[in-house]
Subunit: 262 residues, 2 copies
């Protein structure tokens, strides 16, 4: 008998070689699968994530599912058992028993990524693993205006790192918000979309920072999108600032559908 | 010729075996002295801190001084040179050339420590190195009332870990503030005093948390202080939540002299 569990987790990515299982590397998937192997006394339970995160990238709301063999464990007991076996840099915050038709990856309706950029003059020791760093002149309202050009359905070839294996590069961006956190001296970028290509958020942030710094015209992203050429944006913002913030399995709430009000 | 430099620094303590130089251990003092040794092409320059911080304890405003031999380097050049040689977990934020009568330790008029406690149900992966953790019931106004009993000049023997070598255990606490940070779900403790004994802040926080949890009567600290017995408080809050926040070399500003308004 198999029971399918959906679990929501946060992790500090700075000591992981990313989410996906790799031989001889410390990965999130590997760490969770090792714990499940102990619980099942040796059976391999495959963990399916909503998607991969790269080395150094964090998660606030990553979602996984797995099929647990043997006797069903109540969800509130499963979360305690799993948390007791996790290292300090992973925490499960939610656990539900779900139907077999739920799939952490294929049931997705959208994803929310957050990117934090520290504006401190020097790299802040407390933020070195948790933010990107941009100690240059930055006009936030320019970036806010530019970000509107990303909204809607586009071919994002120009924003996909080579190395991705996905052919179809059309995605829809539903929501972009860029805000200054005065207390932390950071800029926070939020992106909600149907899905994101390899490194796409980090490349969009890099391009937006160039606009905020005045090195690109304010509506340059329109041109970059239509060029369908990765060489149009050569920079990629650092992994340390990126957070998989939330995964939507229900329709995106109307308040996040800026694309419908263009 | 010697030039005395006063420098203010922040460090993330989680990968250091404390401030003080120790053979074969990574320490803050050792790291700074190694950099100075490179600058002086092999001469040892002794770094004097305002005081030690333990393994895992952080600093936002630690102050050091040292006497640099040879040609005087302007302060704005010194800070750039030093920062370029520091690892990512140390940053210098200020540098001044000072008179020989300035001493990072002996010129102190007071110190400010901050302690952060996360109230999250599980340990938050992003805060494991940066906060203490108290996932129990907590009444903040009780702690605020109790903290007033610490103000003023007292013999703090009950709050000094064994291992300290200091005979005179009389210190003055000028200011205590305890506040909830709703957004972070943390309690922030601030203490300003003439000086603090070994582990004193962490022991005071542990006792205050017991009061906030209802395991000690609200004015128990009066009794604990007069007992002059470390056994009265057996707990010590974790190192990870503690920050040396500021060192005062001038008179403590009036707004922080709560002890004068008792």
């Amino acid at each position: 008998m198999l029971t399918r569990y959906k679990m929501t987790m946060a992790y500090d990515g700075h000591l992981f070689h990313g989410f996906q299982l790799q031989p001889d590397q410390r990965t999130v998937q590997g760490t969770v699968e090792d714990a499940l192997k102990k619980m099942t006394k040796g059976k391999r339970v495959i963990v399916q994530g909503s998607g991969r995160t790269d080395a150094g990238v964090h998660a606030i709301g990553q979602v996984i599912h797995f099929d647990y063999p043997g006797k069903t464990i109540p969800a509130n007991r499963m979360i305690l058992a799993m948390n007791s076996m996790m290292p300090m840099d992973i925490i499960f915050n939610k656990c539900q028993i779900v139907d077999e038709d739920f799939h952490a990856r294929y049931s997705i309706k959208g994803k929310w990524y957050r990117y934090r950029v520290s504006l401190d003059h020097f790299v802040n020791p407390f933020k070195r693993f948790y933010t990107g760093h941009f100690p240059y002149q930055l006009n936030i309202s320019k970036m806010q205006e530019a970000a509107r050009d990303l909204l809607g359905k586009h071919d994002f070839t120009s924003f996909a790192a080579s190395g991705g294996q996905i052919e179809d590069k059309v995605r829809t961006i539903y929501y972009v918000n860029i805000e200054k956190d005065e207390k932390e001296n950071e800029v926070i970028f939020d992106f909600i979309g149907s899905g994101f290509l390899y490194n796409m958020v980090r490349i969009m942030v890099a391009a937006l920072l160039e606009i905020g710094n005045g090195r690109r015209p304010i509506h340059d992203l329109k041109r970059v999108i239509s060029a369908k050429d990765r060489q149009e944006v050569r920079q990629t913002a650092q992994a340390s600032g990126l957070y998989l913030y939330h995964v939507f399995y229900e329709d995106i709430p109307q308040k996040y559908r800026q694309d419908q009000h263009l």
